[in-house]
């Protein structure tokens, strides 16, 4: 008896699932017609971004880490390092990459960055 009740119930459940599925795809297609808006906001936020990239480019080598920093760049040179592991050292003057203030988050000295 329970078997005979279970079958129709399963059938109804399948039917409900099917209808729900159709509904969700309909909703998806409907929302896809509204896509221009998200694209527009993405465009609107883009102009603000280009102002910053120059600031995050090169970096001096932090002298306490020279043994580890040379190892890291070859693996991740393309994009990851800029914030913490400096890839290229624009400072060629004096003893660049030394232990002076500005290699350790201290004030910048008066070098010419040649």
């Amino acid at each position: 008896m329970s078997f005979t009740l279970t079958r129709p119930a399963a059938g109804i459940a399948l039917l409900v699932a099917f209808v729900a599925g159709c509904g969700s795809t309909a909703a998806a297609t409907h929302s896809s017609t509204a896509q221009p808006k998200p694209a527009a906001t993405a465009k609107a936020t883009q102009p603000a971004a280009p102002a910053k990239p120059p600031a995050v480019r090169p970096h001096r080598t932090v002298s306490p880490a020279p043994p580890t920093t040379p190892a890291a760049p070859p693996a991740t040179t393309p994009a990851a390092p800029p914030a913490t592991a400096p890839p290229a050292n624009p400072i060629q003057q004096g003893n660049g990459g030394d232990q002076d203030a500005d290699n350790n988050g201290g004030p910048n000295d008066g070098d010419g960055n040649i």
Binding site: T33, P36, A40, K43, A44, P47, A51, P54, A55, V56, R57, P58, H59, R60, V62, A83, P90, I91, Q93, G94, N95, G96, D98, Q99, D100, A101, D102, N103, N104, G105, G106, P107, N108, D109, G110, D111, G112, N113, I114
Partner: protein
Amino acid sequence: MTPRITRRGPLAIAALAAAAAAAVLVAFVLPAHPPAQAFPALVPAAAPASWPQATLPDRTAVLSYPPGLRPIHGDRGTVSAARLGPHGSYLLYLNATPRQGAENLQNWAAFRQRLLRADEAASAHLDAGAERLKFRGGTGSCVIDDYITKIGGHHYEEIACLVQGRSGASVIVGAAPAAQWIQAGPLLERAVAAYLVR
């Protein structure tokens, strides 16, 4: 439904284009951070007798620094002095370095900003600048700016001058945490005013 969307489409695109054009125009016309303050008057004067002195190894300039500062390690050929906080943080910093790059009295403000951004600062902001300032033994161009370091995110304010003497040009930098600039600035400016070039 669809016709309404297609009618709105061009309008939305036009509005977006107008907004983008306006944003670009504003970005070009208005500088991101215009200098906010006037450059303080620097009157060249010898430092008090109690102030220690450090001469550049090439002997082109003499840095005088307040007694509370101690000489610290810096790049070869330079002299530096600093007052450090309990955890090694920089409370006051003075440095003199012979001119080494393409900086000159005319391009100094732009050069210094470019250097800060390329070197160690995540951001840098020019606060004030002045050219043709008199120094003891020479003439200089100066900036006051503030910047945030990439390492540690420290916010410093500095006065940085390129000073041309008879035998060479050098840079003097005085820096302190931006939050303490009101107290530190006058002392650092006094050290800059006492900078002697030959």
